[in-house]
Assembly symmetry: C2
Homo-oligomer: 330 residues x 2
């Protein structure tokens, strides 16, 4: 299991690479919750240079490599934020990165990954893992997994250190859960520093395998087709044995939100928080706004994990909200 | 003239009220500028609790009031971000605030100002100033002007202190100019701490009265109707004698951007910077992206001054950009 000391060591390693994100108070939620509550703060990880918290784990994993491993380079398979994070970390370390992506990945994400100097290998949708392991075998390159590694978990946990540093009397931290690296790391740091604080995972109802596993006390497998129904494209993975061991021991609970709640939270974050959040990044705010009855009261932080969203989708949630408000004004 | 010491004193006064915004590196501009340049950082003042830098000046001005003045309360006239800033500062200090707004102000801005506990006084469009002075006369309340006051300028300047603290070798700082309070304060702090750095004002072409004044060496008056043509509704004021004295002495230059450039910068900030900027908040980024030939090379900071934008307008610039990209892909 990852420890507070691991997270602290990661923080020292990645300090010059990641943005020290502030906590943003949200006066606008004042009237939307009961008097028992004492406020919401946002932790805007969407403001990292690649637009997501994945920077933290990737930079820590790359910084931990010895000289031999660096000479052989790194490999990752991802169509999402992890691809850019590993490319960014490899470029900063001056080492080679091969990123294996499905040929169906949107061009903008391929271009962004290449712009960091990574070698992008396009493959069929179901060949990603196999091709990545071929590169590992051929070149001796080191695979950087998106969540299933102690160095990655420790790196993501640095966001938790910063939360307690900025709000020492935090009561509740809401964190998106997919593979569980971010939630494992943040729960490790926050519960070690402030044992009374409760770290709560948030999932889309349509991909709530981790909640089911958490309730069952063992990993429950959901079919890919089920998990891929949610709009939150960053929350379609499942925890590994390693991350689940952390979630099970260190999370207080896992709650779920609906697709409509995710869209509403994206609109609220843009209009009232002035932050662009991708659907996965908005689930924690959605839980605060719409699932208050399932949450403990107290000073609450919602981690906005990423902001890489299709502009047409963002425009859509913004105008949907406007229509709603127009009706309310009639 | 406001001094570095005034700005430092303001920083100590407002530290607990304002968000210590980070500088955000922008790897995405790497390919869009010449090799002579060495990067762009954003200073996201849109992330202040009321969505704009105006927090800084208003909190400093209110904190400077003596007990007698506090008992009588404060007054401001504004339909924009200054209204919310003064309301927020008065609430934090536990004093009464009267905010005089045109009856034509969008309901959401009236509601936001009231939500901080301020007394909103709705008047005809051309009665704002007169009604504000009536309240001053009747109640002995203190008027907090939006820019024409040393305490307001010193408060806005605290953003400049933070820029140099975070990027000690900054070369260029781009700041929106309207009444000139923000540019005066930032230029005061930055040029005092780093005499080689150049602070450059940015205006919409359609409201470039300050640029004309800067070139002429004296205040040039533009008709209101002309200044109100720009989409950048926060940049329609003119400098006062006090702010112009600061701009003239401490700015290196003032450059202008077009309405299309402002809209493109809003889209880039949302898609690549994950920040919601209002048109006025996007002009400095527009100058970096589109007016590079008019700017000195070097490590550049663009101040994103605010993010209070109509969601329909934001949706519009996002989808306009998408259409453009679609055409480019054909």
């Amino acid at each position: 299991m990852v420890t507070l000391d691991d997270v602290r060591a990661a923080a020292a390693r990645i300090a010059s690479a990641v943005v020290r994100t502030p906590l943003l108070p949200c006066p606008w939620v004042g009237n939307e919750r009961s008097a028992a509550d004492r406020g919401l703060w946002l932790k805007p990880e969407n403001l990292q240079p690649i637009g997501a918290f994945k920077m933290r784990g990737a930079h820590n994993a790359v910084a931990r490599l010895d000289e031999d491993a660096r000479a052989r380079g790194v490999v990752a398979y991802s169509s999402g934020n992890h691809a850019q994070a590993v490319a960014h970390a490899a470029a900063a370390a001056g080492i080679t990165a091969h990123i294996v992506m499905p040929a169906s990945t949107p061009q903008v994400k391929i271009d962004n990954t290449r712009s960091h100097g990574a070698e992008v290998v396009l493959v069929g949708d179901d060949e990603r893992e196999a091709v990545a392991y071929e590169i590992v075998a051929e070149r001796g390159a080191v695979l950087v997994p998106p969540f299933d590694h102690p160095d990655v978990i420790a790196g993501q946990g640095t966001a938790g250190l910063e939360i307690v540093e900025d709000l020492p009397d935090v009561d509740v931290v809401l964190v998106p859960v997919s593979g569980g690296g971010l939630a494992s790391g943040i729960a490790t740091a926050v519960t070690a520093l402030r044992p009374d604080a409760k770290v709560i995972g948030v999932e889309p109802e349509l991909a709530s395998d981790a909640r089911e596993s958490f309730r069952a006390g063992e990993l429950v497998d959901w079919p890919v087709a089920d998990r891929f129904r949610t709009i939150a494209d960053g929350l379609r993975s499942q925890p590994s044995e390693l991350t689940f061991a952390h979630l099970r021991n260190r999370l207080h609970d896992i709650v779920t939100v609906t697709e409509d709640e995710i869209r509403s939270a994206m609109a609220a974050l843009a209009q009232k928080g002035r932050l662009v959040a991708e659907p996965s990044g908005a689930v924690s705010t959605a839980a605060y706004l719409f699932r208050g009855d399932e949450l403990p009261a107290g000073r609450t932080v919602a981690v906005v994990s990423g902001g890489n969203v299709d502009p047409a989708l963002l425009a859509d949630v913004l105008t949907a909200r406007t229509d709603e408000e127009d009706r309310a004004d009639d």
